[in-house]
Every structure is written in C-alpha cells, then in structure tokens.
C-alpha cells in the first residue's frame, strides 16, 4: 500500500501578513505590494510543506478570513454578515447572507493557482473549496430561495471554479464538508453532499479529488453516504472523538483510491506522539485493501494554532508518514530524494 502526507488546508498568518492586512484595512497598502507580500509569505508555507516531503501542497490561504469568505465576496447576491462561532472552535466566521441565487463576478481560485502553482515546484498545488452543503447550512437565506436550490447553485459555481483552477495548473481538488461530522446531520444531507461533491470533482479533469469531513468523525450512516461520492479520496478526522474515525475506516473502508486520515492534531500545539499516530494508522489499515492508497494529513486546517506550531506540525506529519511507512511495511511515495 502506498502512503504519502499532505496538509489539509489553510495555514495561520505570520506576523508580516497580519500587519499587511491591518494596513490594508486602513487603505495604506498598494495592491501590487499586497500581492507581492502575500506571495512571499505563501512561498514560505509552501516551502515548509515541500521540505516535509509532501507531493501536493496548499498555498496556505493566508488572506482568506474564513472558508466561505472569498466566494461570498466574489459572487453577487451574497454578502458576509454577522459573526458566528465556527463549529466548536474559539474562532468566528461571517455568516453569508444569500438574497438570491449567487452569480459569479470574479474568479477566486484560478488567479491564485497561476500565481502559486509555479512556486510549488516540484510538488503539485491543491485547491480547497467549501462543500455546498456546509456552505448552505451555515448561511442565512432570504427571499424565497430554497436551501436545496442554493446548494445546487453553489455546486455549479464551485464546479466552474474548479474547472478553471485545474486548467490553470491545480493538480488536487478538495471539497470540505465539515458539517457532516455534526451528530445532527443525517443520511439525507450526507447523500446530497456526496452527490454535489461528485459534481464538483467531475469538473476536476485529471486532478485528484477528495471529500473531507473534519472536526468530528461522522456517524456510520453519514460516512457510508460519503463513501458513495465519486471522488478519489475521502478524508476523515481520526484525532477528535477519540479515534472513532480510524475505527470507521476499519469497518467501512475508504473512497475509490483510498482514504486520507487526519492523524496530526491540528488544533493542539502538543507535539503528537509517534506511537499514538502509528496506532491510529494501524487501526484504519484493517479497512483498506492493498491496492488502495493512504494519505496522512492533519485533523483539520492548521490555521487555528500559532504560525510557528503550524510549521512544526507540518514537519512532524512528514516525518511520521515516512517512519510509519517503514515500520508498517508500506510504500512511502513522498519525499524528494
């Protein structure tokens, strides 16, 4: 079995970016300087991932205020409004308010990919989009638009985003549906999420695709629906919920190509112990077949911990993936030797 590692999503902002955005808010920054500074800060984040042996990297989404914001800001008929707690984190997102079906005004992903894919050499660049079901359920909708219609509309726009991103050079597409880990979410929402993720993945051409569920492992019936998505990998959080995620994989298996297991705790600054990570992987392996591949990743985005720790955890993930491959007799496909 092949094993490799990658970061799940966004990174925290280093001091330079915090200062830049503060100055930006006051209108003190020349747009060209902003792009240049963000690119250099993102390069550092990309470099850390390459050094950790990841064959697919993210640009860190350092300028995204929350996962919905770049899209809510780039589309007509939706506005970011009041703050609301983002899952069980001490972090708040702005509730997108939809007044009608969204329409694209400007592209979000493709320009980034054009900027960052060349910086990611020799790795590929991953793009991440919010899943339509999470997006819809965490938004406010007024003006008679039905939620299922909205989810469909969002999926269409995201599919267009992904198509353009892959054309621009993205090699991996990830759809995030963290709300599927919510114990109140049932089979219907999961089935819709899987269906819409399939449509988005369908626009990804040759790129690899993944549907990610995190912050808590989903219920069994939800996970079974997730597995029906036409994506290469499903990602599941194996840290929160005391390793239930690894058990789910052991019992119900993975996606078309395999599973991505969130084994490094992205919400704690404690340096994960090797034996603990290894035992999560061992538990999950029982549900995977020899020809499937395993991606080891972080339990969620790394942006909820301080910057320095996000870099340390990136390195730890790379080290552990290689060591686990050795210890468990798996084929490690990361690294640049």
């Amino acid at each position: 079995m092949k094993v490799r590692a990658q970061s799940l999503g966004g990174y925290p902002r280093p001091r330079s970016v915090r200062r830049l955005l503060r100055q930006s808010e006051r209108g003190e920054v020349d747009p060209e300087y902003r792009v240049r500074l963000l690119a250099s800060a993102s390069s550092a984040v990309i470099g850390a991932q390459i050094a950790a042996g990841f064959d697919v990297v993210v640009d860190g989404m350092l300028d995204w205020h929350d996962i919905f914001r770049p899209f809510a800001s780039a589309w007509r008929n939706v506005t970011p409004t009041a703050l609301l707690r983002y899952f069980d984190n001490n972090f708040f997102y702005r509730i997108p308010l939809f007044t009608a079906e969204p329409e694209p005004v400007e592209p979000v992903l493709a320009p980034r990919v054009r900027l960052y894919a060349p910086l990611a050499e020799p790795a590929g660049l991953k793009v991440v989009v919010p899943g339509p079901v999470t997006f819809t359920l965490m938004s406010e909708v007024i003006g008679g638009l039905r939620r299922d219609e909205l989810a469909e509309a969002i999926a269409r726009l995201l599919a267009d985003e992904v198509r353009a991103a892959v054309e621009a050079g993205a090699s991996f597409v990830q759809v995030d549906e963290p709300i599927l880990g919510d114990p109140e979410v049932g089979r219907d929402e999961a089935s819709l999420a899987a269906d819409l993720a399939s449509r988005i993945a369908g626009a990804a051409g040759e790129a690899e695709t993944m549907l990610a569920v995190y912050f808590y492992p989903p219920k069994r019936e939800v996970y079974e629906e997730v597995l029906k998505a036409k994506v290469d990998y499903v990602m599941i959080d194996a840290v929160d919920g005391g390793g239930k995620g690894a058990t789910l994989v052991a019992e119900a298996g993975g996606g078309r190509k395999g599973v991505a297991l969130g084994v490094i705790d992205a919400r704690s600054i404690y340096m994960d112990r090797y034996e603990g990570v290894k035992s999560l992987v061992e538990a999950a392996l029982e549900g995977l077949r020899e020809k499937e591949s395993l991606i080891l990743t972080t339990s969620t985005w790394l942006d909820l911990i301080p910057y320095s720790y996000s870099i340390k955890k990136t390195r730890l993930l790379g080290l552990y993936a290689e060591r686990i491959a050795g210890d468990l007799g798996l084929e490690y496909t990361g690294g640049w030797r």
């Binding site: 925290p12 069980d88 114990p183």
Partner: protein
C-alpha cells in the same frame, strides 16, 4: 449591607459582562503596557465598575455583577493570574483580529485572589443588592487554552477546578451568596463524554459550597446533552433562551427540569431593544410550559452584555426589570 430584599418571584439578574467603560479601557491599556501593577490596575478600574453598578441600579436589577470591567477576555484574564500558564502566541479569532491563546506550561495552581477586589468594590456600592461572584469554568479554561504540560485533559481540568474552587473559598469567606461559573465552551461540544467530564470537575468546584451555585451555558445545541447535565451539583442553570427562540423549553419539560433557571430573555447579539411586552410574553411562555414555579425563575439576558453599546444595554435591562415586575403580579 443588609436591607435589600430580592423579590421572591422572578428576581432579575445579569450574566456578568457589561460594555467596557472608558476608565476600564484606560486601565487595561496601562496594565498591558506594564505602566501599572495589579493593585493599581484594579484601583483604576473602580470608576468603570461604579458606572456599571449605577446603570444596574438605574435599571433596577436585583442581583448584579461588577461588569467584568477588568477582563479583556474571559480565559486570558484567569490564565494571566494562575500558576502554570504562559502567555501564548497569536491565534486568530475572526477576520484580522487575534488573541494570545494562553498555554499551560506547568502545574495549574491558584496563586492569589483574582476577582475578589472588583467584586468587593461592586458590593460596597451596590446599595445592599447582592453581587454575583463570576468565574470562567474549568471546561472553558481547558478548551480555550493550549496544553503543553499535562497531555491529559482530565488531569488538567481537575487542577483547573481546584484552582477555581480556591478562589470561590476566598469569596465565600468574605460573604459571597451567589457563585456563577461560566461554561460557554460546553455547548460547542455537546457530547455526553464532555458533559460528564464537566460534571466531575464541577463536583470539585462546588462540593460543600454554602452559596447559590450557578452554571451559565449559552449558544449551542444544549438539548443534546441536557439529560447528562441535569444532575450537576448546582442550584441553578443560567441559560440563553431568547436567541434560540426558547427552543429548549419543551426539552426542559420533557426531562422534568426542577432546578432554578436563569432565564435568558434578552438577546445580546441584537441591537434591537426588546419591549417590555415582548419580555413579559417570554416569561408567560415559560410559566405556561409549567416546568417550574416563579420563585425558581431568575430573569436575565442570554449572556454577557459586553458587545452592546452602553445605552442599548441599559435600555434592555430596564425593560427586562419592568417585565419581571409585571410578571410578579400575574404569576
């Protein structure tokens, strides 16, 4: 200080925080810059506490607070004053706003009184009205800090509980009648294991405490864990209700709720001032649900008022007090 009679039915109260008054902002700034020490800091904040207490008295609230004027953040305030904590690095809260998320780097222990000074000052000017002692609870301290020392949530939460209990003992020795522990983090992880972990911690916090024991929980899917919290060792649950449109009421009925209830009737996220009628109807709604009697109902806002403009906070409280007064005649 005796002499104020808290109404037998529908006493009014607050959850704790109040908009920061200018003298408090000034004191916090000086404390941050290291210009003043702890003692001077609390002395400087007294003007702010006085303004808050004046607003409460103007509105007619029965059981008040010090407005948490010296607390910039409910977790950081205690972390900075407990043994075992270090100042953390920057973590984002929203948009481009950050806070230094505290880090546990050693054994957590109580060092010296943390909130007693503000509370005693508020009491000295409350015209006999009781002032709640309000602390951030062990579960919220645990969840909203990083841990580099324990590597074990149970051990850490129990040490946090012991430290909080020590502060409560200080307050009890000085005559505190109402002790409230705030646990907003619990509703963000509404799982049975989490609720049971907090129960064990609260047993340490409150065991044998001779005062009204209150736990405040807000904003989240509390109905999921209601069955596991009902036997907490507390006299009162103080709950956000208005913002979630009183969704919890049928669940309270279903589970035969019989403790006292801090009944949140004022939305702290809305600048719209609830009318007296609106609040009275909320109280009627609770009473018609026939869950507990009026002597067990404490009327208060959903949560702390700190994010509201002062004028709106005052008006909301005044209407709340008036609605409770009318309700006393009806029920």
């Amino acid at each position: 200080m005796a002499g104020y009679q808290v109404p037998r039915k529908f006493p009014t109260t607050v959850v704790g925080s109040y908009p920061k008054m200018p003298p408090a902002e000034e004191a916090l700034k000086k404390r941050r810059q290291g210009i003043v020490g702890e003692e001077e800091f609390h002395r400087l904040a007294r003007d702010a506490i006085r303004m808050v207490v004046e607003d409460y008295l103007w509105a007619g609230v029965d059981i008040i607070s010090d407005g948490e004027q010296t607390r910039e953040d409910m977790v950081v305030y205690f972390a900075e004053r407990l043994e075992g904590y270090s100042i953390g690095d920057w973590v984002r809260v929203f948009d481009n706003v950050y806070f230094r998320k505290p880090v546990v780097t050693g054994k957590v222990e109580w060092r010296q009184p943390m909130i007693i000074d503000d509370w005693e000052y508020a009491r000295s000017i409350s015209q006999g009205r009781p002032v709640k002692v309000i602390l951030t609870g062990p579960y919220t301290m645990l969840e909203w800090s990083f841990d580099l020392h324990y590597g074990d949530r149970r051990e850490l939460i129990f040490d946090l509980a012991r430290a909080i209990r020590r502060e409560i003992e200080e307050a009890i020795a000085r005559g505190a009648e109402y002790i409230q522990v705030d646990e907003p983090a619990l509703s963000t992880r509404p799982f049975r294991e989490e609720a049971e972990l907090l129960k064990e911690a609260l047993e340490i916090v409150f065991k044998g405490v001779q005062a009204k024991r209150i736990v405040h929980i807000c904003f989240g899917r509390l109905e999921r864990i209601l069955p596991y919290i009902l036997d907490y060792p507390v006299d009162q649950f103080d709950l956000e209700m208005k913002n979630s449109n009183f969704r919890l009421l049928p669940y309270l009925k279903e589970y035969g709720y019989d403790k006292e209830l801090g009944f949140g009737v004022v939305d702290v996220h809305s600048f719209q001032v609830e009318t007296v009628d609106e609040i009275r109807e909320a109280i009627d709604r609770l009473m018609k649900a026939d869950i507990i009697g009026p002597e067990k109902v404490y009327v208060d806002p959903d949560c702390g008022l700190k994010r509201l403009p002062r004028e709106i906070a005052r008006e909301k409280l005044r209407n709340m007090v008036e609605a409770a007064r009318i309700a006393r005649e009806e029920w």
